[in-house]
Structures are given as structure tokens and as C-alpha cells.
């Protein structure tokens, strides 16, 4: 990897680290982080595919309140770097995906450390606030964000220092059953993210929508965008019918309430 690529990778890692806490632009999501690393290292398409598969796993990861989810930022950056270092071959995709999981946990601890350091930072802010010093508040906020960036950028540097040959040798030394087994596991762990999301949003009212979506997915001619459009249509129809039913009694039912009966009566 050239020096320029390395610097760009570290910049991407820094952005991902910042976003891991800010959660605004989504640079920390595997889909974006892996793609950017692919872009700057010249392995764009394989990294897009890696990002897609990691994204499927990370779909349900979210920071709620004070709880921190597994860290998508370190997972995506580190596994993309390892993937690129090993030559971005399709067969190491399963391994790169599997490596991401323990990294996501490691990232979680790093986040906790930085969040604890930030307690000290806001105490400094308190002092500066008492002096009415606006510029100091700005500066310390930026320092705190940069710490979050470094949280991912430093591990990225460490990974880049490991020679690519060693990464490749380690990965190719892996027996086939382990490699393939991890790929199989990767296909299944996707379910955990979905389960997390369902546990959050499911209730009696929305389960039928789940069933329709599940059954329709078997029609392979329908792309996801087509299915999304169907889902939106069903939802709008449901909400619309519901509001009509709410004021139902007075409006709409001018006839006998039986259109077929009305037609027959007209004869």
C-alpha cells in the first residue's frame, strides 16, 4: 500500500471514529467506511461487497440512551484494512467478516474509555463557562470529538504497520473448514441484528406486515425497491382505512353498505 493510501485510510478511520459517537453522517457504518477504504486503496468493488455483508450484520446496532451497541466503526475499519492487506480476495471475505465481531466488542470498550475521559473535559468546560469564555467551550468540544476520532485512527495505524505478507500468510494458513465455517456463521449472524430490531418495534398490530413481507420476498423477480414500494403502499392504505373507519359512521355509507347488493337492486 502506498504512503498516500495509508494516510487516506487513517483519515477515513478518523472520520469513522468521530461518527461512531456523533451518529450523524454515518461514516462509521460498514457500508460507508468499507467503501471509502476500498476507494482509497484501489480495491473498491471487493470492499463494497464486504461493506454490504458487514452492514447486514450491523443493521440493528444502535446507541440507545447511555447503552453502547457493538462498535460498527472499529469493526468496519479494521476488517476492511485486514481484507485489503490480505489482497482483497473473495475467499477471505468470510474471515474478514468474522474478525469484525470481536473488534466490535473491543471498540465498545474504547468508546467507554473516551466517554469517561469526556467527563473530565466537561468539568473544564464548566470552569470556562463560569468565565463566559465561549471560544474555550468550542475548543474543548472539538478536542472531545478528535479523541473519538483517534479511538479508531490509532488502531488503524497499528494494523497498517503489520506487513501485508504476514496478514496474507496468517489467513491462508487457515484450514478450509474454519474459513468456510465462519462464512456459514456469517450468513446466520445477520439474524441477530434483525431480531434486535424486531424486539424493539414489534407489536400485535405490525406482525401481519412482517408476514406479508416475508412471503413476498420469495418472489425473486421483485427487487428490494419494488418490495419497499409495496410495503409503503400497504402501510398508507392501512393508516388511511383506519382514519376512515374512525369517522366511518357518518360518511361514505350512503347506500346499504353492500355495493354488490346496490348493483343487484338497480336491476
Amino acid at each position: 500500500m502506498s504512503a498516500i493510501s495509508m494516510i487516506l485510510v487513517v483519515i477515513v478511520a478518523f472520520l469513522a471514529g468521530m461518527e461512531g459517537i456523533l451518529d450523524e453522517f454515518q461514516f462509521h457504518q460498514p457500508l460507508v467506511a468499507c467503501t471509502l477504504i476500498g476507494l482509497v486503496t484501489g480495491h473498491l468493488i471487493p470492499c463494497v461487497i464486504l461493506g454490504g455483508s458487514l452492514q447486514m450484520i450491523a443493521l440493528g446496532w444502535a446507541n440507545i440512551g447511555a447503552a453502547v451497541a457493538p462498535d460498527a466503526a472499529l469493526a468496519s475499519v479494521a476488517s476492511a484494512i485486514i481484507f485489503v492487506q490480505s489482497g482483497a480476495a473473495t475467499k477471505s471475505m468470510g474471515t474478514a467478516t468474522a474478525i469484525a465481531i470481536p473488534l466490535a466488542v473491543a471498540g465498545l470498550f474504547l468508546t467507554m474509555i473516551v466517554r469517561t475521559i469526556s467527563v473530565a473535559i466537561i468539568h473544564i468546560m464548566d470552569k470556562e463557562a463560569a468565565k463566559g469564555n465561549l471560544r474555550a467551550i468550542d475548543m474543548w468540544q472539538i478536542v472531545a470529538i478528535c479523541l473519538q476520532g483517534l479511538r479508531i485512527a490509532l488502531p488503524a495505524v497499528a494494523l497498517l504497520i503489520i506487513p501485508a505478507d504476514q496478514v496474507r500468510a496468517a489467513l491462508s494458513a487457515m484450514p478450509a473448514w474454519l474459513n468456510e465455517g465462519m462464512t456459514i456463521g456469517g450468513g446466520m449472524v445477520v439474524a441477530v441484528g434483525y431480531a434486535m430490531v424486531i424486539n424493539m418495534i414489534a407489536n400485535r398490530e405490525v406482525w401481519p406486515f412482517f408476514a406479508i413481507g416475508f412471503v413476498l420476498a420469495a418472489v425473486t423477480q421483485l427487487t428490494l425497491i419494488a418490495i419497499g414500494a409495496l410495503g409503503l403502499a400497504f402501510t398508507l392504505i392501512y393508516l388511511d382505512l383506519e382514519s376512515k373507519a374512525g369517522n366511518g359512521g357518518n360518511g361514505g355509507n350512503g347506500g346499504s353498505g353492500d355495493p354488490l347488493g346496490d348493483i343487484l337492486n338497480d336491476y
Binding site: 440507545i64 466537561i122 431480531a195 406479508i212
Partner: protein
């Protein structure tokens, strides 16, 4: 109502909105998003208060504990802007009112933000993007990034403006039916797409053979009797007829997977998801489940159950 001496221009409000992007930057275990909240309001504080004491008081008010969904903070920031503006224009508003409004809004609103953004919008948009990306399509990440950020910035700006215009009255509007309807609609849409994603992207393949039947001659292509010239390929393709004609092998093999698929395609994936939901409800850590599934994958591969 008295003429306002100082008003916040659109430019000031936009500056606050942009800074609220960094709301969670100094997220800490003591007062959570407080640093970010004060940071976001600094352009307004700078404009509204000129003395050191006034600025210090304003900063202190906003360095109080604060935590909500990062995008949902926008309408609350809008309300704070309206209150601070009134305060600077001579309608004294005490610090207790200022924090009361913030605390009163952050809890209920976070309850809307998390399911709508983190558990519906992001899984849907990222799921769409990821399914394109897995097939090597660069549009996947681009779609996700662009769509998400347009939605996010639009939401943050318009809700902040809404909060600024309505001031403290916002709580009445928020408890109205529309917000609830949006939340429910989002959950329906989310469940629909999740059903699809589970069928398409959770992959489990059981390899054990259930049956192996020797087919009668004529039902399969007899590879030994093909002419030894290029027309053989044509003959085979005609006999195979895109899978509708003769079988390619002498034995008809049915795997466990074929049997499951003939019930409902994706049944195993569905069952696995239900199992995960159950485990999560039993407070099993997601990390443990994920690592467990990798172990199951490896063992399954070794004993030849999964492929």
C-alpha cells in the same frame, strides 16, 4: 407584545443547526450530551448576550444534564433558542423553566426518535444499500449515504425551525395524533421490510441428504451415449431444456434444505430469527449470540450438517 431588540437571524439558526451535528461529540457518563448542547447554542449566546455574566449564566443553563436522540434534539434546541431570545429581550425566564422545558421534551421525544431512526429508517435504507452492495454495486453505499443525509439534515433544520416558531407550545403539538401516526406507520413499514430481509439475506443451508433415488433410464441424460463431437453440447442442452427436461444426474438427490424450502422458502431463517429474539428477551448478550452462531457454523461445517 414589546418590540424585540435582538432577534436571531436565519443565518444564526442555521449555524446552531450545523453545530448540533456535533451534539454527541463530548458525550460523557456524567451529563451525557450537555457539552454538545452548549456548543450548539454558542452562536445564539454570542449574539444575544454581550456581558461576561450573561454569557456565563447562559452556558451554565445549558451545561446541565441532557440526553435524547441526536436528531430529536433539534426541535428542543429550537425551543431553547426561542426562550433565550425572549430572555435577552427583557422577558426574564429563569433557569428552572429553561431546563424544565428541555427535560420535559427529551424523554418522550427520544422514545420516538430511537424506533423511527435507529430501528426503522436506518435498517430499511441501509438494508437496501447493503443488498445492492453485496452484489458489487457501488450505488448501494452511495444511495445509503445520500438518502440518509438528505433526510437527516432536512429533519434537523425543519424541526428546529418548528421548535423556534412554536416555542413552549410545541409540547401540545407533539402529543397530537400525527407524530404517533408516523411512529406507527414507520413500525409497519419496518416490519414489512424486515420480513423481506430475513427471507433474502439470512442464509442457512442444510446439506444432509434425505433421499437418493435412482431414476429410470430416459429420465436423465446418459452421458456415455452422447456423440463424441461438438453437437453433443447441443444435444445435452436440448435434453436438459433449462431444467424442465431430463435430469443431469442418474440419482435424484433431495437434501433437507429442499424439503424445508418446499414448505416455505426461508423457513429456517425465520426460525433462527425467532430463536434470536427469544434469546435476546432472555437477556442473552447479542455478542454472545453472534459468537455462538459462528461456533455453530464451524461445527456444522465440520460434521457436514451445514454448507
Amino acid at each position: 407584545m414589546a418590540e424585540k431588540k435582538i432577534t436571531l437571524t436565519k443565518r444564526d439558526r442555521w449555524s446552531v443547526c450545523w453545530r448540533s451535528t456535533f451534539l454527541q461529540g463530548s458525550w460523557n457518563y456524567e451529563r451525557m450530551q450537555n457539552g454538545g448542547y452548549a456548543f450548539a447554542l454558542i452562536p445564539a449566546i454570542k449574539k444575544l448576550y454581550k456581558t461576561k455574566e450573561d454569557r456565563a449564566a447562559a452556558l451554565k443553563r445549558h451545561l446541565e444534564f441532557f440526553n435524547t436522540h441526536p436528531y430529536i434534539a433539534s426541535p428542543i434546541l429550537g425551543v431553547s433558542l426561542a426562550l433565550e431570545e425572549d430572555n435577552a429581550n427583557g422577558t426574564p425566564i429563569d433557569a428552572a423553566t429553561m431546563s424544565g422545558v428541555k427535560v420535559g421534551m427529551m424523554g418522550p421525544l427520544a422514545g420516538v426518535g430511537d424506533p423511527v431512526f435507529w430501528f426503522t429508517a436506518r435498517p430499511i435504507i441501509a438494508g437496501l444499500g447493503a443488498s445492492l452492495a453485496i452484489s458489487g454495486n457501488i450505488l448501494g453505499p452511495i444511495l445509503f449515504f445520500v438518502l440518509w443525509n438528505i433526510l437527516r439534515i432536512a429533519f434537523m433544520w425543519y424541526t428546529q425551525e418548528f421548535g423556534y416558531r412554536t416555542g413552549t407550545k410545541i409540547t401540545d403539538d407533539v402529543s397530537g395524533g400525527l407524530l404517533q401516526k408516523v411512529t406507527r406507520g414507520a413500525a409497519m413499514m419496518g416490519m414489512f421490510v424486515l420480513g423481506t430481509l430475513i427471507e433474502r439475506w439470512v442464509t442457512i443451508k442444510f446439506t444432509p441428504e434425505v433421499s437418493r433415488i435412482k431414476q429410470s433410464s430416459g429420465a436423465y441424460i446418459d452421458w456415455d451415449k452422447l456423440p463424441n463431437n461438438p453437437t453433443a453440447i447441443k444435444t445435452v442442452l436440448e435434453q436438459w431444456n433449462m431444467g424442465k427436461g431430463m435430469s443431469l444426474t442418474e440419482y435424484k438427490v433431495t437434501t433437507l434444505q429442499d424439503n424445508l424450502d418446499s414448505l416455505i422458502p426461508g423457513l429456517a431463517a425465520l426460525l433462527l430469527t425467532l430463536l434470536c429474539m427469544w434469546l435476546l428477551k432472555k437477556k442473552v448478550s447479542p455478542i454472545v449470540i453472534i459468537l455462538g452462531l459462528f461456533v455453530v457454523g464451524i461445527i456444522g461445517r465440520v460434521i457436514g450438517l451445514l454448507g
